[in-house]
């Protein structure tokens, strides 16, 4: 049940902002790049906000995390709220100042992007990471952990709620929804300040942000239960949300667009992509490569001592090689697929959009009622299906050969290994597709795609963030291969989902602005 609720929360926190963005985009033709700008505003504001808070903690202006009480709590809450308000609202202000067109619906989309990425990261990724950490502590005597008594009490309480009432995770999503409404409202407040040239409204936004954050910090440290905390958060946010709603209803465009269903066009585009993969033999090539690795991995693992032993120069070392096991087979499988899958994804995905633009077919198709998001999304989905089929073929061969060569195996961990590999492949496919929309030629697209992939690899070496990078999925898969269970990393899986979604939205935003 814990895994089930964690998955539900990740899906809700990741996709609810996307759904809000889809509604605004379809109804009022608000470009997706404003959503991404909102996300960027949040990320850049945190680049200043987090080190600033650390600095203030070092100076003793704010207290570090832990059970806070009395004046220290109030001071920490107010200063923490003020730094959040200053960093986030000023970042929002700068983005509105440099925005060419400033319609109220742009303000709305900027708020959704800002609150959206916060929801994805704080609601999705961090909840999943916390769930993984708490699940790892099951059966561990927490008294043996090096923690203060207060920290141990908090941890014990968290584990009790988490393991016995996993449904309470739903409050994480509720909190994120309220936060999104608040960010949208603050965004409209700052938008109004810029459009009507009223700097006082920016100060009001900072003050309101500070007040709400302060209340949330105080409530979180006062032992209130989740629904009480959410209720307090809602009540303090409501006045501004009502004010923003009134402004929206007064100023929203009079005529919205009511689109026909996009389903038939999407099916047509997806069908064409699949047909293309089959007719151009790409499907067959992927299937052959995956099948090859699926067969070779267990055979290599099983016969490695014999292979080494057959080489005259290495014969003396053959006895040093441990007796191969099923874990070697799975380990070899993960190594092969992660090394060659990377290249395969780049080769298959780099020309997906850039190639069509280069050859002129994009102009032919996009001058028809084919929304650009369908043009891009159908490509990712078709690639996903190709990789899924390839991975399935490979998995069947590897599992079958491992069974034959090493005896009966438990399928559960191997299924999870393949799901993680699939998510890993899709993350890189998403980044490559984003590269393909940025480049005008396949070669340029390959460059952009490779650049994105390198960034993801670099992300893996950043302290704290590294374990949430796509490489964390491979590490998790390896642990499953060698121990059957091991330390879980659902945070990396949630981050992979966020990266896929944001790559997709980025690709669509680029396509919307791109001249064909």
């Amino acid at each position: 049940m814990v895994a089930f609720y964690t998955i539900i929360i990740v899906l809700l926190t990741v996709f609810s902002p996307v759904l809000a963005g889809i509604w605004l985009h379809r109804r009022f033709v608000v470009p997706w790049r404003i959503f991404l700008l909102g996300a960027l505003v949040f990320i850049l504001s945190q680049v200043v906000h987090i080190p600033l808070n650390h600095l203030l903690e070092d100076w003793g202006v704010m207290a570090r995390q832990g059970a806070l009480t009395g004046p220290v709590l109030w001071r920490t809450a107010l200063v923490g709220g003020l730094t959040a308000g200053l960093c986030e609202e000023l970042a929002r202000l700068v983005s509105f100042i440099f925005m060419k067109k400033r319609k109220i619906e742009d303000g709305l989309m900027l708020g959704i992007g800002h609150g959206g990425i916060e929801s994805m990261v704080f609601g999705g990724v961090l909840t999943a990471a916390a769930a993984g950490a708490l699940l790892d502590l099951r059966g561990v005597d927490i008294q043996t952990l090096e923690m203060t008594q207060t920290q141990l009490q908090i941890l014990e309480l968290q584990m009790d709620v988490f393991l016995n009432q996993p449904w309470t995770l739903i409050f994480t999503w509720v909190e994120r929804v309220i936060a999104m409404f608040l960010h949208v409202s603050l965004s409209i407040l700052v938008w109004k300040a810029v459009v009507e040239r009223k700097p006082a409204l920016v100060l009001l936004a900072v003050a309101y942000h500070m007040a709400v954050d302060a209340v949330v910090i105080v409530v979180a440290n006062s032992g209130w239960v989740h629904y009480q905390a959410n209720l307090a958060f809602l009540l303090v946010s409501l006045p501004l949300v009502f004010w923003a709603l009134r402004n929206w209803l007064q100023q929203k465009p009079a005529v919205g667009i009511f689109h026909k269903s996009s389903a038939p066009v999407f099916i047509a585009a997806f069908r064409k992509e699949i047909l293309g993969q089959i007719r151009t033999k790409r499907f067959l090539i992927v299937l052959s490569i995956f099948a090859g690795f699926g067969i070779l991995s267990p055979l290599l693992a099983r016969f490695m001592p014999e292979i080494i032993g057959s080489i005259e120069e290495a014969r003396d070392f053959a006895h040093l090689i441990p007796v191969p096991t099923a874990a070697d087979s799975y380990g070899q499988y993960i190594k092969n697929l992660s090394q060659f899958g990377f290249i395969l994804v780049l080769l298959l995905g780099m020309g997906a959009v850039a190639g069509e633009q280069e050859h002129g077919t994009a102009a032919m198709i996009l001058s028809k009622p084919m929304p650009r998001w369908i043009f891009v999304f159908s490509k990712l989905l078709a690639q996903a299906l190709v990789y899924f089929t390839g991975l399935l073929t490979s998995a069947v061969f590897t599992f079958g050969y491992t069974w034959i060569l090493f005896g009966p195996q438990d399928a559960g961990p191997f299924i999870l290994i393949n799901l993680l590999l699939f998510l890993w492949l899709l993350t890189y496919a998403g980044v490559t597709l984003a590269g393909s929309t940025l480049g005008r030629t396949s070669a340029a697209a390959a460059g952009f795609g490779m650049g994105g992939m390198v960034l993801l690899l670099v992300m893996g070496s950043i302290p704290m963030l590294g374990q949430l990078a796509p490489g964390g999925l491979i590490a998790w898969a390896n642990q499953l291969a060698w121990s059957g269970t091991g330390s879980m990393n659902p945070g990396a899986a949630a981050m992979a989902l966020v990266l896929i979604v944001m790559s997709m939205l980025g690709s669509i935003a680029v396509m919307e602005k791109k001249e064909i």
Binding site: V29, V255, P264, K272, L275, R279, A363, M364, P369, M370
Partner: protein, 315 residues
């Protein structure tokens, strides 16, 4: 979305401009294309014809201005307007792995055409463009002309009220050109055809309205007859049946004495006269010709060709 039901044109542009850095590819284009017309969009290479079409079809974005097709804005990034027109790019490109029939089926699906109608239309348009026998051949094996024909077929497939064709005859052989022009003439009155070309003979043959674009600026837009009349020169050509050079010379000398005549050129009793006062000339010239005693074979005011008009405008 804001609609703009233009009272004048099925295609409308208002202050449509597009710049590429310092270069102004299109400058402040205001245009209304009448419904049911075959509208020729003329201009030299680089005049801005393709840029205009790309802006109209939403493939490029204007620096300023807006455009509408059938009352639906096309310059706001929405794909809603794209169902009301068919577009043939200058260099139509296709998926080489598809057959002609498959490509049209794909296009029909994008337009969400009902299955029976789609299959009927696929057969019909393939027949109209002369590709019925090649319908199951892979497009990768098609010649340039065949691709152009398929491009026209895909533009017409969903029976749009507006056809936007960018140089539709450029890759066709003379027979293919003639067939396509006949097809477009058949559509006159039912479909608005907006097509660019630098083959002036094609435009002259089928267009009832013409716009001339030069260096990104609209120089002229008018009904074909009005345009030709506007650029008509005040010149008359007279030819006599006899080739009596003496009588002809006498007639020429008489003409040269008239104040309303600017110049007279005579070659083998064929005389070209440029007049300064057309009204007087229209009355006096026939009388002088009859008085000369020569037997008149031809007498007509010179009508400039579209080519002459175009060259004069775009110089």
């Amino acid at each position: 979305m804001e609609n703009h039901m233009s009272p004048e044109g099925v295609i409308s542009c208002r202050s449509l401009s597009r710049s590429f850095g310092e270069i102004k590819a299109l400058e402040n284009l205001n245009l209304d294309v009448p419904a049911g017309s075959v509208f020729g969009f003329l201009g030299r290479n680089g005049a801005g014809k393709t840029t205009t079409m790309r802006l109209l079809t939403g493939l490029a974005f204007p620096t300023t201005g807006r455009a509408w097709i059938a009352g639906i804005e096309t310059t706001n990034g929405s794909s809603a307007s794209r169902a009301v027109y068919g577009y043939l790019p200058q260099e139509p490109a296709f998926y080489g792995w598809m057959t002609a029939e498959e490509f049209l089926d794909y296009v029909g699906r994008i337009f969400d055409m009902e299955s029976v109608r789609k299959h009927y239309r696929i057969e019909q348009v393939l027949d109209q463009v002369g590709l019925a026998e090649s319908s199951r051949r892979k497009i990768s094996g098609f010649s340039g002309g065949m691709k152009q024909r398929l491009g026209i077929a895909q533009a017409m497939l969903h029976e749009p009220p507006v056809l936007i064709l960018d140089e539709p005859t450029s890759a066709l052989d003379p027979a293919g050109r003639s067939e396509l022009l006949d097809l477009l003439v058949e559509l006159k009155g039912k479909v608005t055809v907006f097509f660019s070309s630098h083959i002036l003979a094609d435009v002259d043959r089928i267009c009832d309205h013409i716009a001339v674009l030069h260096e990104g600026k609209l120089l002229e837009v008018a009904a074909r007859e009005d345009l030709l009349a506007r650029y008509a020169t005040d010149a008359v050509e007279i030819q006599f049946v006899d080739s009596d050079s003496e009588a002809c010379s006498t007639f020429v000398r008489k003409l040269q004495q008239e104040k309303w005549i600017e110049s007279v050129v005579e070659v083998s009793c064929s005389i070209r006269i440029l007049v300064s006062d057309r009204e007087t000339a229209e009355v006096q010239l026939p009388k002088l010709a009859v008085d000369s005693g020569l037997l008149l074979k031809r007498y007509n005011w010179v009508q400039p060709s579209l080519e002459e008009v175009f060259l004069e405008m775009s110089q």
